[in-house]
């Protein structure tokens, strides 16, 4: 076991570049997944099965297939259809889409968790449907959603290294590049591994605390 601190020092500038890319992908991917997940969840409550059924099949399909292959699909197939994005955009869209099928479950469970009495009261007060959703159901549902969504953000963080496979220079991409140029694999890979623990462990503690506060 040889450990070379000077290699760590040389790697650090690349590390910060990679961290920035990783965090950008994480933030944008999370935003897409939060919004899209809510859209899926609301579509799943549509009155006609002609909406529910296709949405259910598509989201089930996306949830049960590997993100990596979905990344390849978007990265190589979209250009064939004359839609070209940068690698980073493709990656963000893929992560957002993949995790929207998870966040959708969270929204669904929390909407179902609002007591039936609340719906009945809204009906009794003759509230229109939009008002029922915006003033009664969603404010109660969102509270319970926050910690569960946070968990998925942490999972998403741990899936961002996959973007490396479509040439994005995130933390792992930078580490691999550095390793191949200098033939020092141990230091950069260990540094980013530790960095992931240092980010995700406090984040998970935070989510646990939030969960205690927000979910009764």
């Amino acid at each position: 076991m040889t450990w070379d601190w000077s290699a760590v020092g040389d790697f650090m500038p690349h590390f910060w570049d990679g961290l920035l890319v990783t965090l950008q992908a994480l933030v944008l991917g999370s935003l897409i997944s939060f919004v899209l997940g809510l859209v899926w969840a609301l579509l799943m409550r549509a009155p006609t099965r002609w909406v529910r059924w296709p949405v259910g099949v598509v989201t089930e399909f996306i949830r049960n297939t590997p993100l990596l292959v979905q990344l390849f699909f978007l990265f190589y197939v979209l250009p064939e259809w004359d839609i070209t994005f940068s690698a980073m955009t493709t990656g963000v869209v893929a992560i957002g889409l993949h995790y929207s099928t998870y966040t959708m479950q969270v929204y669904r469970a929390s909407i179902e968790g609002v007591p039936a009495g609340q719906w009945e009261a809204a009906t009794a007060l003759n509230l229109p449907l939009t008002r029922t959703w915006t003033a009664v159901i969603l404010p109660q549902a969102i509270r319970r959603v926050v910690p569960a969504l946070g968990n998925y953000v942490i999972s998403m963080l741990k899936d961002t290294p996959m973007l490396m496979a479509i040439t994005v220079l995130d933390m792992l991409g930078e580490a691999r590049l550095f390793a191949q140029q200098n033939f020092q694999f141990t230091e950069p890979l260990t540094v980013i591994g530790v960095a992931f623990i240092l980010i995700s462990y406090p984040a998970s503690l935070l989510m646990r605390a939030l969960e205690r506060r927000l979910v009764r």
Binding site: M1, T2, F61, N64, T65, P66, L67, L68, V69, Q70, F72, F73, Y76, V77, E80, W81, Q105, V106, R108, A109, S110, E112, G113, R144, V145, P147, A148, G150, N151, I154, S155, L157, K158, D159, T160, P161, M162, M164, A165, L172, A175, R176, A179, F185, T186, L189, T190, I192, G193, F196, I197, S200, Y201, A203, S204, M207, R208, E211, V215
Partner: protein, 239 residues
């Protein structure tokens, strides 16, 4: 697509299935050992098991794979066959997630059951084997089923290391045909079918195990999504 290319895809399926079975076995062993260690009466055992869990859940599976493939040979001189390297990385990572499931299910068994065992002067090992596990294991099956699907999706990661699994064979066919829509659609469909079969299998297993202790499986999406006790995880945990 020609038959030669299909043969490539079939080989890919075989590698994926092998990797899935081996790493699932390793992950299951790790889950039970670490999960049971986390409810051990000595604090040092609990601490070490907890440390293991946090470290392996804290990093990304892909980074673990890189580490096993590149750092292990350089740092310790262990050059593993790709299949075993992939198994090791995936098994250890997903085992850490699984240990949370085991711990959660053990904790959810009614404490009176254990007290009953103590009153009958069972040894700790007998209490675990005869009282705790038979009641806890059926509870673990739904979250383990989710975790198994996550593991299946995780096996695609080894293609980054050039191992010839299903995702990798997709890349080869893309290079051969210079055309990607068709092959990637097939690859995604194959993964979906495998996932579907696994879900069915696990549901059957749950039914059998629950019948063994006189219960019926719950239907539909549960509220568990909101009450996941452990927060970094894929796959969810038993309450």
């Amino acid at each position: 697509m020609t038959s030669g290319l299909w043969e490539l895809v079939l080989k890919g399926i075989w590698v994926t299935v092998q990797l899935l079975v081996l790493s699932a076995l390793l992950a299951a062993a790790v889950s039970f050992v670490v999960g049971i260690a986390r409810v051990h009466r000595l604090w040092i055992v609990r601490f070490l098991a907890g440390f293991y869990t946090e470290v392996f859940r804290g990093t990304s599976a892909l980074i673990m794979i890189f580490w096993v493939f590149f750092v292990l040979p350089l740092a310790f001189g262990w050059q593993l066959v790709p299949l075993w390297a992939g198994t090791l990385a995936l098994g250890l990572t997903y085992g850490a997630y699984g240990s949370e499931i085991v711990r959660g299910a053990l904790n959810s068994v009614d404490p009176a059951q254990v007290e009953g065992g103590i009153a009958l002067s069972f040894t700790p090992w007998q209490r675990l084997r005869l009282i705790l596990l038979p009641q806890a294991v059926p509870e673990m099956i739904p979250p383990f089923s989710n975790l198994l699907i996550e593991l299946l999706k995780g096996t695609a990661l080894v293609s980054v290391m050039g191992m010839g699994d299903l995702a990798f064979s997709g890349n080869l066919v893309r290079l051969a045909l210079q055309e990607s829509a068709e092959i990637y659609t097939y690859i995604l469909l194959i993964y979906f079918v495998i996932a579907f079969l696994l879900t069915r299998l696990m549901r059957g297993l749950e039914k059998r195990l629950k019948a063994g202790i006189g219960e019926v499986p719950e239907k539909g999406v549960s509220q568990a999504e909101l009450h996941r006790p452990e927060t970094t995880g894929v796959g969810g945990g038993a309450a």
